[in-house]
Symmetry: C2
Subunit: 201 residues, 2 copies
DNA sequence: GAAGTTTCGGAACTCATGGTTCCGAATGAT
DNA sequence: ATCATTCGGAACCATGAGTTCCGAAACTTC
């Protein structure tokens, strides 16, 4: 709690770095982003950037995560409605960053153990908590006899949307319709559970 | 058909480049791969590499795609069995490359229009044809009244597996079980189609 | 065979950029 | 007043992608 000796960090510098990074990401794309350009745009020395972030990749990660809200949506009354809300949150998160940023960051996450930990502990964990909560609600309502594996349901929600956007590169206009079908289909699959087969156990 | 004038390319050089790239990818990872190292390992000049590939990324793409078989599996008798076979092919493709290679290549694909075209025209197209064929078989059998959108089914198959491996980074031992549940669940969803709602239309 | 063209491995080179270090000035705690 | 840490700015270093040139080899054409 004690303030460390020395000149304190200027909080506005953090914001300026993140804003400059997001601007340049949107203007020139992920691969074209240079640290010098971010420093210049932010009106900041490169040292100030590296005092805050270990690598360029960590800087970008922080800038992108900065304005990404991942709150669990309120109870919508049914599993189907809850899942629809969750898909909407996922679609928003993945659609928000400029083109190329999500794939670029994913590659960085798989190239550095520290980034992997940060990714798993923020974005993925928040989404997982969200999915778990929604499944628990359904169990509470009696819609589900047992709670399915949250990891499996998470993969079934996040995966198809990610694939639509970044693997198959289908038309984005059709994404909302697909996401809606995904949510209702998954709800139907989970609730139509027969005694003979417990899916995603 | 006429042989161009000049010394012809040595076919063994292509193989040596691809083999060296795959070796180094496996040994040191995607981000650590340098073109000089590939040339050195292959016993080849850098010029020979750049005579064949426009960029380092294109070289890696070619090396990885080289030994990746994506044949449509034979008719297994039912939609559920066919989908299980397709998921198996997808799991194999995504599990084969060394860690970090798939995310790295995906970032490259989103950074270069030429790579995007190559990716869509080879890997994705082969998988899509596979999915379409399997759905057509099911229609022919009478299991499906109408053929669902192949893009949607493709996303529902590829996405969750990709998410499991590269987004959620769940234990790989549990992947086969999850993939099996995915295939049977999707088959059930598609065939249990009610008149009221045609999913993935 | 001689000439011309393209390949080969190898080395030298250019250039962009990530990351570090140093500067003098500013800002705070002790 | 002193000390530690910050600031913007600039110089600096190391790495690696991509280009160019070399002499030699392989092939077509004349």
């Amino acid at each position: 709690m004690t303030q460390p000796v020395g000149r304190p960090r200027d909080g506005r510098v953090d914001g300026a770095i993140a804003a400059a990074a997001r601007e340049l990401l949107a203007e020139h794309g992920y691969a074209q982003l240079t640290v010098d350009a971010v420093a210049s745009r932010a009106g900041v020395g490169k040292a100030a950037i590296y005092r805050r972030h270990a690598t360029k990749q960590a800087m970008i990660f922080a800038a992108v995560m900065h304005d990404l809200e991942l709150a669990t949506p309120p109870d919508a009354g049914s599993l189907a409605a809850d899942l629809a809300a969750v898909t909407h949150v996922i679609v928003s998160s993945l659609s928000a960053p400029p083109p190329g940023v999500v794939p670029g960051l994913l590659a960085d996450v798989h190239a550095d153990a520290g980034m992997a930990e940060a990714f798993a502990g923020t974005f993925i964990k928040a989404e997982r908590d969200c999915v778990t909560e929604v499944l628990d609600r359904a169990v509470g309502r009696g819609e589900l006899a047992r709670r399915p594996d949250p990891a499996a349901v998470h993969a079934m929600l996040l995966g198809p949307i990610f694939a639509w956007l970044f693997l198959l590169v289908e038309e984005p206009e059709r994404l909302p319709g697909f996401a809606a079908d995904l949510a209702t289909g998954l709800a139907r699959l989970l609730t139509s559970d027969t005694a003979a087969h417990q899916p995603f156990g």
